[in-house]
């Protein structure tokens, strides 16, 4: 496919994205308004933070699934598949049991203990299970601390996805220019690019508004809509991709022959000087002096009256079959000279790397996937998912166990539709869209634009590109509500003013949701560059702090309040220490994988030993408390 065709397809996708996003916002606001009407008839806090514990099959299953699938599932994950090939299927394969582990392991007991205790948040459940304020307070502080990183990262992801998809849409670009002219001189805000700022504000206002107005029920209803959009998007993408790539076997055969590209630098040289500047967009294909294709990783220009550009970052294709296909796509009258390239650290020049393990890697000399990493992720996807408070709180909201059993099946179908098909689509993307390594994060919208344009249905790109919107929104709204429930229910109502009236709780909930949302936006205006690492740190930290303490709290009557506090803190400290070691070892923010295992696995071990050891050393638990939550053995 020629570059101009890619650009025009992107533009069509951008227009479709604009319309889709508009329709989408209308849809979520209608759902929030309906949820607010339901809310008015019920007890406020229970409805606002937990939907009155009355979620049925579709609502419970799809809110659990959609919250689990964040922006990473539709932007980062496709990018990984494109970059490393089929081995990413192994990396994600632990998701086969996520429906069972994340819902079956804890949900029934979580819901039961939640109902017996009357709790509507996780800290409240732990506080009442152990009859200890210390347990509740520590849980609240850990949730607010880790969740805030999550929240601002998702705001950033939402803004970036929107900016990527709307790039090149004329009305949008005009507004971006106006925004930049207004904000350029302002402190803090002025350092942010206009497109990112505009998208962040629009995205944030939309999510904060519907979450504040509709509460948990609005979040769940929009999750259902977003879940349907994600599943439909992937199915359509799969069908169109397979038909255009000539079948899966053909795609795998072509992938087997591919060798990794090389990144490097070149100077563009034109045959004769021009009277005006000659611009080259990022993504333009040019030939080098031997006629082989190079792709510009950055935009550049040959100034008027000159024949050479400055040195610019390029990508060099190394697979012979791909070079042949690209001959007709190259810009005429210019060539890349003074070429320097660097081969991949693993897989350079070797065919078969994209269909086997460990998969090519630009920077890692042992490749992408080691056996220990495969084990780590099989643990991580299942148990870190089960340990997320945003999932655990949902498990207190379903109406009966039939709903739970059917939801496990529905989530199984949902994940089966999403994850393995995405691997098929984006390994095939290597065949259909060569050279996407220069902006691998854009491979999802580019594929949507490419396959719909080639199939003669470009308007359908709108639905496909709505999937990442949906994924990020459904995560942001859940985290926003988690943080505000922590402040309102667990700090204000439990500690500061237990006698607070329903009216004041309502007012405070609205205020806190808005304030927390805008604090997240403010922090996301100039996010630190290692933010993605912070997301992994935050999710690992939450799971490390909560998974094993919650498991023991629900299943082990002998567990004490002292052990609960020590368990949550030891899990958090283990993660913090292994990240600190990682910082000193790698000289940048990142985890330290002791013996090749992710810190979360070590945290699970440390937390379990801490909880068991301290419980056995503590005085026995009050028998009335045990009977309340575990019952009495029949005579």
């Amino acid at each position: 496919m020629s570059d101009s065709a890619i650009l025009s397809a992107s533009s069509i996708a951008g227009d479709a994205a604009l319309v889709t996003f508009g329709v989408y916002l209308v849809g979520v606001f209608i759902l929030a308004w309906l949820a607010n009407r339901v809310q008015a008839k019920k007890e406020f806090a229970g409805e606002y933070f937990l939907g009155s514990k009355g979620l049925g099959l579709w609502a419970f299953a799809l809110t659990a699934a959609a919250t689990s699938a964040s922006g990473g599932s539709f932007m980062g994950f496709p990018s990984l598949i494109y970059t490393h090939g089929w081995v990413v299927g192994w990396w994600i394969s632990g998701y086969v049991l996520v429906p069972l582990v994340s819902l079956g392991l804890l949900a029934k007991r979580m819901n039961q203990v939640g109902r017996i205790s009357g709790a509507i948040t996780l800290p409240e459940l732990l506080r009442r299970r152990f009859a200890s304020n210390s347990v509740g307070n520590v849980a609240t502080l850990l949730i607010i601390f880790f969740m805030f990183f999550y929240l601002l990262a998702q705001f950033k992801a939402g803004a970036e996805i929107m900016a990527t998809l709307l790039d090149g849409v004329e009305p949008y670009e005009n507004i971006v220019n106006s925004v930049e002219s207004v904000t350029s001189g302002l402190p803090w805000i002025g350092q942010t690019s206009g497109d990112y700022l505009l998208c962040l504000i629009v995205f944030a206002i939309a999510v904060i508004t519907y979450t504040t107005f509709g509460g948990f029920r609005a979040v769940v209803w929009t999750d259902v809509m977003q879940g349907v959009v994600m599943a439909l998007g992937v199915i359509i993408l799969l069908v169109l991709t397979l038909s255009q790539v000539g079948g899966l076997k053909n795609a795998t055969r072509q992938l087997t022959e591919m060798t990794p590209p090389e990144f490097g630098f070149a100077v563009l040289q034109s045959s004769e000087a021009q009277s005006s500047d000659r611009f080259f967009a990022r993504g333009t294909w040019v030939a080098d002096s031997t006629g082989e294709p190079l792709r510009l990783a950055k935009a550049t220009v040959i100034p008027a009256g000159d024949t050479r550009s400055e040195s610019v970052e390029i990508l060099k294709i190394t697979t012979p079959e791909e070079k042949q296909k690209l001959l007709s796509s190259m810009e005429q009258g210019v060539e890349g000279v003074d070429l320097t390239t660097e081969p991949y650290a693993y897989g350079a020049g070797e065919r078969g790397g994209y269909v086997t393990a460990p998969g090519p890697s630009k920077s890692n000399p042992v490749g992408f996937m080691t056996v220990m990493l495969a084990f780590s992720f099989f643990v991580f996807w299942n148990f870190a998912g089960a340990g997320q408070p945003s999932q655990q709180v949902r498990q207190m909201a379903f109406d009966n166990t039939k709903t739970l059993r059917r939801s496990i099946i529905l989530v199984m179908v949902f994940f089966s539709i999403i994850y393995f098909p995405l691997v098929i689509v984006f390994t095939s993307a290597r065949v259909l869209l060569p050279g996407m390594e220069i902006y691998a994060d854009r491979v999802m919208p580019e594929m949507a634009a490419h396959v719909t344009a080639a199939a003669g249905v470009p308007w359908l790109a709108g639905l496909l590109v709505a999937a990442p919107f949906a994924a990020v929104m459904s995560s942001v709204d859940s985290f926003l509500l988690m943080v505000s429930s922590g402040v309102v229910r667990d700090v204000y109502q439990e500690t500061i003013n237990p006698q607070a009236s329903q009216k004041s709780v309502k007012r405070l909930s609205y205020i806190v949701t808005v304030v927390v949302g805008f604090l997240g936006v403010f922090a996301a205006l100039n996010p630190p560059q290692f933010l993605q690492d912070l997301v992994v740190f935050a999710s690992g930290g939450l799971a490390a702090a909560f998974l094993m303490p919650v498991v023991f709290a629900l299943y082990w009557p002998r567990m004490t309040s002292r052990a609960a506090v020590a368990g949550m803190l030891s899990g958090s400290v283990t993660i913090l220490v292994l990240y600190l070691v990682g910082y000193f070892v790698h000289d940048k923010f990142g985890e330290y994988n002791l013996f090749g295992l992710h810190p979360f696995i070590w945290a699970m071990v440390v937390t379990s030993l801490t909880v068991i050891g301290i419980s056995l050393k503590s005085p026995p638990v009050d028998s009335a408390l045990v009977e309340k939550y575990f019952g009495r053995k029949p005579a």
């Binding site: 192994w90 394969s93 996937m369 009966n400 098929i424």
Partner: protein, 99 residues
């Protein structure tokens, strides 16, 4: 039987389900890691075609896709046959309160 005794039986049933899930996870992780370690790293000889099953590399089929289908069958069996309905408020039979 008293409500407290019913709650105890419900708790024991949940615990049984917990161990089933943990055991199943153990079986799958052994399968996944062992199959990948044995077969995923075999790069095809120069000029040779990659062995495939229904279009995916054979190691992906046996490490990822087949276990995925088998996992789905197990989940289906678990959710319909093994997992029991229980009272969620811990005081009555599920039929009385959960519907």
């Amino acid at each position: 039987m008293s409500d407290s005794e019913k709650l105890y039986l419900s708790y024991r049933q949940s615990l049984r389900e917990f161990w089933w899930i943990t055991g199943a996870w153990g079986v799958f992780v052994i399968w996944n890691v062992a199959s990948g370690a044995l077969f995923a790293y075999q790069i095809p000889d120069p000029g040779a075609e990659m062995a495939t099953v229904i279009g995916v590399p054979r190691w992906v089929f046996f490490t990822v896709l087949f276990p995925w289908l088998f996992g789905n069958a197990f989940i289906l069996w678990f959710a319909t046959k093994l997992m029991k309905d229980s009272s969620l408020n811990g005081t009555s039979d599920p039929e009385e309160t959960d519907e």
